[in-house]
């Protein structure tokens, strides 16, 4: 009898334990978000700032109670600056069964991992401006920023209509993204103004000396230079133009906006240059929400957020909103993104047919003492999207 009583007590204890094991984690089990970002190597200047934005977004969502009581967590894998490493990193992140993945902002890496995320049916969010990324018919990719067909049309119009320049030199990094910038600029020059670039030069990722390319532009008689490269490259172009006394206008890609924010060029060096990006510099915004984000991000990263990092932050918060509404099923999340609009700190996000969540663009001009003014702007997202209040 005593033995039987002990057995009954043991069974009850076992049953309760089993209930606890099954019930408690189900309620508290964190929701995993993957991040495949270049944390080391040539593109580390992108990965670590983007991860800071993702982590900040996740912390804020968790502080506000998470997703219906479940906290968010992030699993990070380093994609370096290599497509092969990116594919391996993506496969490793999949092991943690993420509901969605924040991908690298490099078009060439996204094209490399695209077959994998299309096969695995996992939503991927990233901010490359490489045009081709959203022209592959991918069903699971969302671009957090605008692409080159938007930005390069804007800078082509600025060059010819506002600055009255017609001899354009194009300097770009020799990768998928650089070619995207070159090809879109060339196409808009041709289609809008029947012009051809007078000089085109490229450099390899990791090259530190672009004096030869700049001197080639000068020799070819360019009266304006546009460039598309990593933040380090854009900063070097600005510095080396100054060193070589090349005094013609220069418009850098969004990386130059980032290089300025991250103190890679001095105010004196960047004075007179332009940068083109998906939106106005976060530090120029008057919005209280953006100001709060800039302050929180700067405290974490020690430099202000650029436009692309802001996109990652916004999309994490948009992901949280979508999951609160539709749950954590990957397909429902994807469909949620296709149909929803979201008011982020940068503006309104709404997916178009290709999966582009953001279609705005802006060009800033740097004045004395590091001041910047917006000289041309396009915000299709605000005019074309139907905003659904959250």
């Amino acid at each position: 009898m005593r033995l039987a009583g002990s057995a009954a007590l043991r069974d009850i204890a076992l049953g309760l334990s089993l209930l606890l094991v099954l019930a408690v984690p189900a309620a508290a089990q964190p929701i995993n978000i993957g991040a495949v970002l270049p944390m080391t190597g040539l593109a580390a200047t992108y990965g670590q700032p983007y991860l800071a934005a993702v982590q900040l977004g996740i912390e804020e969502v968790n502080r506000a109670g998470g997703i219906n009581g479940r906290m968010l967590e992030v699993t990070v894998e380093d994609s370096q600056a290599s497509n092969t490493v990116a594919i391996n990193a993506f496969n490793r992140v999949l092991q943690s069964r993420p509901v969605a993945i924040m991908g690298p902002g490099l078009g060439t890496q996204l094209l490399a991992i695209m077959p994998a995320f299309e096969r695995e049916h996992v939503p991927v969010f990233a901010g490359p401006s490489t045009r081709r990324v959203t022209q592959q018919g991918a069903q699971w990719f969302f671009r957090t920023t605008s692409h080159d067909a938007v930005g390069k049309e804007l800078w082509t119009r600025l060059i010819v209509e506002d600055l009255h320049k017609r001899r354009v030199g194009i300097l770009h990094i020799a990768n998928e993204w650089g070619y995207s910038g070159r090809d879109n600029t060339t196409a808009f020059l041709k289609s809008l103004f029947q012009l051809e670039p007078v000089s085109i030069a490229s450099y390899q990722a990791g090259d530190r000396d672009v004096t030869a390319q700049l001197l080639q532009m000068q020799r070819d008689g360019a009266d304006i230079i546009v460039s598309q490269g990593f933040p380090v490259d854009e900063a070097l172009i600005v510095r080396q133009m100054r060193q070589l006394n090349i005094n013609i206008p220069h418009i850098g890609s969004g990386s130059l906006c980032g290089a300025f924010l991250r103190n890679l060029v001095t105010p004196a060096e960047i004075e007179g240059h332009y940068c083109e990006g998906p939106a106005v510099l976060p530090t120029l915004s008057d919005s209280p929400a953006m100001k709060a984000f800039v302050a929180a991000y700067t405290a974490r990263a020690s430099f202000p957020p650029d436009i692309y990092a802001t996109g990652y932050y916004d999309v994490v918060r948009m992901l949280a909103e979508v999951m609160k509404r539709v749950g954590v099923d990957r397909e429902k999340i994807r469909d949620g993104f296709r149909n929803a609009s979201f008011e982020g700190v940068m503006g309104t996000y709404h997916a178009d047919a290709e999966g582009n969540l953001w279609t705005g663009s802006a060009i800033m001009h740097f004045g004395a003492n590091g001041t910047a003014t917006v000289v041309r702007r396009l915000n299709r997202a605000a005019t074309e999207a139907t905003v659904v209040p959250q």
């Binding site: 670590q48 020799a174 990791g206 530190r208 030869a212 001197l215 380090v232 890679l264």
Partner: protein
């Protein structure tokens, strides 16, 4: 054209300095230090820290060279010395491992954001022969010339230099003659690290400092020493200048896209015509 030549010569001098420092270790130990690019990178970061601490550029540069000398000694004791009797491949692999370690350590200590240091000069450009030249380029060329002369005097007109050369040519015989082999090798590592450090100090104000700083120059420096003749000190200098001038002339007048491909093509051609490089010794048949 003067601008193009000055820029090419300046980069060539940087390749020459890095190639020279690489060759010093090779000649003394027959070891290939594949972490040499990281020596350049570390010098850039140390320079930044010194400037950030408030030191003027000249003092920061001297402090960096001093730190690199100490670093060369530590590197020799920790990485080379324990493996000195092992097959040379062990040292090669150790240096590859050290390179990865150093890059990631730099990422942890100095962060992912590239860093910048001010120029040595207040002027951004100087006019010479009707061309606008950068003072940094002229400074690199002048400094390299001074270093080469100093090194020549050290190696050929001092007892220390004779000891270093004797150890490089025949370590056993040098030891029998009373030259302390380990001390000479340690001094070689110190000199080599200081030369690589000097290259880092010279390029840091014109480039930005990040973990890939060394990678940008080490590959070209390696091509330079092979074109010049592996093991030849004048060859490393000549090779550096050839690579620097070739890449900028090709980029400006032929194609910037294919400048590296063309440089490598020339490199292969040189090796076909001069299998031991331009200033290398005659080819020896292995039996």
């Amino acid at each position: 054209m003067t601008q193009v030549l000055a820029s090419g010569l300046a980069m060539g001098c940087v390749y020459a300095l890095v190639g020279l420092s690489f060759i010093l270790i090779y000649n003394a130990t027959h070891g290939l230090n594949f972490a040499h690019g990281e020596f350049v990178m570390l010098a850039g970061f140390i320079l930044y820290s010194a400037v950030d601490a408030g030191a003027p550029m000249w003092l920061a540069a001297l402090a960096t060279l001093g730190c690199m000398g100490v670093f060369g000694l530590v590197f020799q004791r920790l990485v080379f010395y324990p493996l000195r009797d092992r097959p040379f491949l062990a040292f090669v692999i150790a240096t590859i491992g050290f390179g990865i370690f150093a890059r990631n350590l730099a990422l942890l200590v100095w962060g992912p954001n590239p860093l910048k240091v001010p120029s040595f000069f207040t002027a951004t450009a100087v006019s010479l022969l009707g061309a606008t030249l950068t003072p940094e380029h002229l400074f690199i060329i002048a400094t390299t010339a001074v270093v080469l002369v100093t090194q020549y005097l050290l190696f050929f007109h001092t007892a220390l230099g004779r000891g270093l050369r004797a150890t490089a040519q025949n370590p056993e015989m040098a030891q029998l003659l009373g030259i302390r082999q380990n001390r000479m090798i340690a001094i070689t590592f110190v000199l080599s690290a200081m030369l690589a450090g000097l290259a880092g100090v010279l390029v840091a104000p014109i480039f930005l400092i990040d973990t890939e700083l060394g990678g940008a120059v080490i590959l070209k420096a390696f091509i330079a020493i092979i074109i010049g003749g592996f093991g030849s000190i004048p060859g490393a200098v000549l090779g550096g200048l050839i690579v620097g001038l070739l890449e900028i002339l090709v980029a400006v007048h032929v194609s910037s896209t294919y400048k590296d491909a063309i440089a490598f093509g020339v490199f292969i051609l040189v090796l076909l015509v001069f299998p031991r490089g331009l200033l290398g010794g005659p080819v020896e048949d292995r039996v």
